[in-house]
Symmetry: none
Subunit: 224 residues, 2 copies
DNA sequence: TGTAAAAGTCAAAATTCAGTCAAGATATTA
DNA sequence: TAATATCTTGACTGAATTTTGACTTTTACA
């Protein structure tokens, strides 16, 4: 099996170098140049994340905090030798680790392989979705926005999953009903309407946005 | 084979120094800054543990007592010269040893290599899991919380193992039944419900926490 | 601008589900 | 074999969720 490694760093030179090297080592590297892009790339479910701490915008530590509860794979920080030491120590949880710059490529490779070996036991292909700053873990049935969890009931989560996994596509209420309940939707029952309301309410209160668009006369769709 | 060495100390400077040195010597050092983190890191099944006695929170001696039954590798204590002498003498078991601060790096290396040479270790400790302060040995089928054992029956342990080895993932009762019993779950499996109750009861009474989360309408998951 | 259809809101009722318990069945040990 | 531990079952309860229907608001279009 080939391990997927997400490299998050704003220096293209360094990223390129790492990617090339890891590619040669038999890994499947892919990259993001900032935190927002990184969140998007989580969809590809990396087996390990190489994360630079110093980045413009949301930095590596913040990103880590944001995704920590949703992502089970190890996160390896890249950091300048002296700086940030305290912050990092406070943050290191579970399988996390850090590498100080400048580093040698074999060193990085060694650390990566060590973490992956250990992770092999507990690793589950946790199906992870990201939509802007929202992270949804389909295996754990959890939703996080910037590190805080939003709880959904069974039906609510099922509907959310349906819409999110087909982001942009419009579903009418019958379709949603049939899909989630597994029954024929005999006439309008209004149940779906109510659940959509609850979902929006919860999203709105935590994220300040509801991500669900009403297509008048037709149905609902997840904003892309 | 490269030996893995767990360094447990709350002084980053010292830890770094040791780690660098041991790394150069061909070991694979990894670190924890407190006892709780150290317990987590046991998952990596170190071949030797370097353990500072003076640490905030749970100190080195307590940690040792807690993990002694689950860990077979030697533990090397780091301690100030005069202090704690009596306590240590009372504690030294099996292959354990201690080094007084300040120490020279070659001295530490010498002790480590001596202990490792002596240890023709059996590698069955690799099936060791830690979740917060709970230690679970899958080979021995034992569960310890802060040194005290919690006994589980066969079915109970099987369920616990399933949930724990897939921490965070949600399992519905049918899934659990099929996985543990190896049979098709025909209809309601209230058995699982009852076993979950027993597991929780035992965990709760010893650890004061049950580690198992109910996902309403769906199933159960191990708290991460 | 008025109106009918569609969508949104709300709270109460209905239902489903998880937790509990006790007792019977089965397996294990002395 | 008896004694003991473990597993299984089914009934019961209270809690959480789901559903309903009456009501309000918004929208599209005449």
């Amino acid at each position: 099996m080939q391990y997927k490694i997400l490299i998050v760093d704003d220096e293209p030179m360094l990223t390129e170098l790492l990617a090339d090297y890891l590619g040669d080592m038999g890994y499947l590297p892919f990259m993001a140049t900032d935190s927002v892009q990184a969140m998007e790339k989580l969809k590809e479910s990396p087996d390990l994340i190489l994360l630079d701490i110093n980045m413009p915008g949301m930095d590596g530590l913040e990103l880590c905090k944001t995704i920590r509860d949703e992502v089970t794979c190890p996160i390896l920080f890249l950091t300048a030798r002296d700086a940030e030491q305290d912050k990092i120590n406070g943050l290191l949880i579970g399988g996390d680790d850090y590498i100080t710059k400048p580093f040698s490529l074999p060193e990085v490779a060694a650390r990566i392989s060590a973490h992956l070996r250990r992770e092999a036991r507990t690793h589950d292909s946790s199906r992870l979705l990201a939509s802007q700053e929202l992270l949804v873990n389909l295996s754990r049935r959890t939703v996080h926005f910037k590190g805080t969890e939003i709880e959904f009931s069974k039906r609510e989560f099922d509907i959310l999953e349906l819409l999110l996994t087909h982001a942009g596509q419009v579903f009418d209420r019958e379709r949603i009903y049939e899909s989630v309940w597994g029954l024929d939707a005999s006439g309008d029952s209004g149940v779906v309407k109510e659940h959509i309301r609850k979902i929006r309410q919860k999203l709105q209160s935590v994220a300040g946005e509801d991500y669900i668009e009403t297509v008048w006369g037709v149905g609902y769709r997840w904003k892309q």
